[in-house]
């Protein structure tokens, strides 16, 4: 039951942060970053297993890998950007958090533009 371990890490780090915040707020931020990274790493293996399996099924069902890969890439970018932005926001740096989010949006748009242009191509092709 890994969910118990994750909750354990979360609770322990929360308590540590509450104690530290009065005395040393700068170390509290570091503890929260480390706890976030640990939880993220514990999830990473499971997540990649799920994604692999979904990919296999998509292959079986005949979905082209290009669709699958694009959706996954964008999800990953959104996830990582959100993760980084949340850490910054926890540390009280809302400005940097929104910069990270902006970078994530730009990256997503860079990936999205080819998809949208290929939709336009497709529509133009279908039009007689």
């Amino acid at each position: 039951m890994e969910i118990l371990q994750i909750i354990g890490i979360g609770l322990v780090s929360t308590l540590i942060i509450i104690v530290l915040r009065k005395q040393k707020p700068e170390i509290a931020v570091q503890v929260s970053i480390v706890a976030g990274a640990m939880i993220f790493l514990m999830l990473a293996a499971k997540l990649s297993a799920v994604v692999d399996m979904l990919g296999e099924y998509a292959d079986k069902a005949g979905i082209k890998p290009a669709y699958f890969i694009t959706v996954l890439k964008i999800t990953g970018i959104a996830y990582i950007a959100e993760f980084g932005a949340e850490i910054c926001r926890d540390a009280g740096e809302g400005a940097i958090a929104s910069k990270i989010e902006m970078a994530g949006k730009v990256m997503i748009v860079v990936l999205a533009v080819p998809v949208i242009t290929s939709l336009m191509d497709l529509i133009l092709k279908i039009m007689p």
Binding site: K64, Y67, T75, E86, A112, V115
Partner: protein, 234 residues
């Protein structure tokens, strides 16, 4: 026909399921609507793509996507390389300027009666111009050997000012074009030289200046009017 419809339906259903799972995984933050836009677009593509097969034209999504992505990459690299080029050009110009200064210092030291020399040049840094790299102005500060200047038209500070005035006067065409910056540069060089050695007094040796400017003119092809010499005796 039945097989076509079956494939189509399975494709759409699988893609919808897949998108739902992915959206479940997404954090609830602000990124969600961007991801939704993209998954929606891909769903539309999945739904209408088989129709191209009916019309006899095949649509290859990954090829179209790769082409568009390649297009974006190419533009990005073009922009980045333009920036790099400017930076590189700036550095090259600076290097070139330093090398010219070194050469001028060297050749000034070879002139008889000169013990040490410092130089500064102003070159045309506008790389769109036809005369890019042309030397506009040369400032030389020479430190003279012992009594070399003393027995000629020995002058103290009083003489030196008109001397440098003389050399600045002839360049009427240049000064109209370049204005006040040059004056600042002269000032800074003058004070810099003074700070360098307190004991040195400014003197004026017309013969030495003539030899120096002639030599510099010969080597670098700069007009005599654009060469400004300041002499200091140690």
């Amino acid at each position: 026909m039945l097989g076509f419809i079956k494939d189509w339906t399975v494709n759409i259903v699988m893609m919808v399921l897949f998108v739902v799972i992915v959206e479940m995984l997404l954090p609830r933050g602000r990124m969600k609507k961007y991801v939704n836009l993209l998954t929606g677009t891909i769903l539309i593509i999945v739904i209408i793509e088989p129709l191209t097969g009916l019309f006899g034209q095949n649509f290859d999504f990954s090829a179209a996507q790769t082409a568009a992505a390649g297009n974006i990459d190419r533009r990005e690299i073009e922009k980045a390389s333009k920036l790099l080029e400017e930076e590189q050009l700036r550095q090259t110009t600076e290097l070139y300027r330093r090398r010219i200064i070194e050469q001028i210092t060297q050749s000034a030291k070879e002139v008889e009666g000169v013990k040490d020399a410092q130089a500064d040049v102003i070159i045309n840094e506008d790389h769109d111009s036809e005369y890019f790299g042309e030397i506009k102005r040369i400032y030389i500060t020479v430190y003279m050997r012992g009594n070399a200047g003393a027995d000629t038209k020995a002058g103290s500070n009083g003489d030196s000012k008109p001397a440098s005035m003389d050399s600045t006067a002839p360049r009427k065409d240049d000064s109209a074009r370049e204005g006040t910056i040059k004056v600042d540069r002269i000032e800074s060089i003058r004070t810099g030289g003074m700070d360098g050695d307190d004991s040195g007094s400014t003197v004026y040796d017309a013969g030495l200046e003539r030899r120096l400017t002639e030599r510099i003119e010969e080597i670098f092809g700069v007009e005599t009017g654009s060469i400004i010499v300041k002499q200091i005796q140690r």
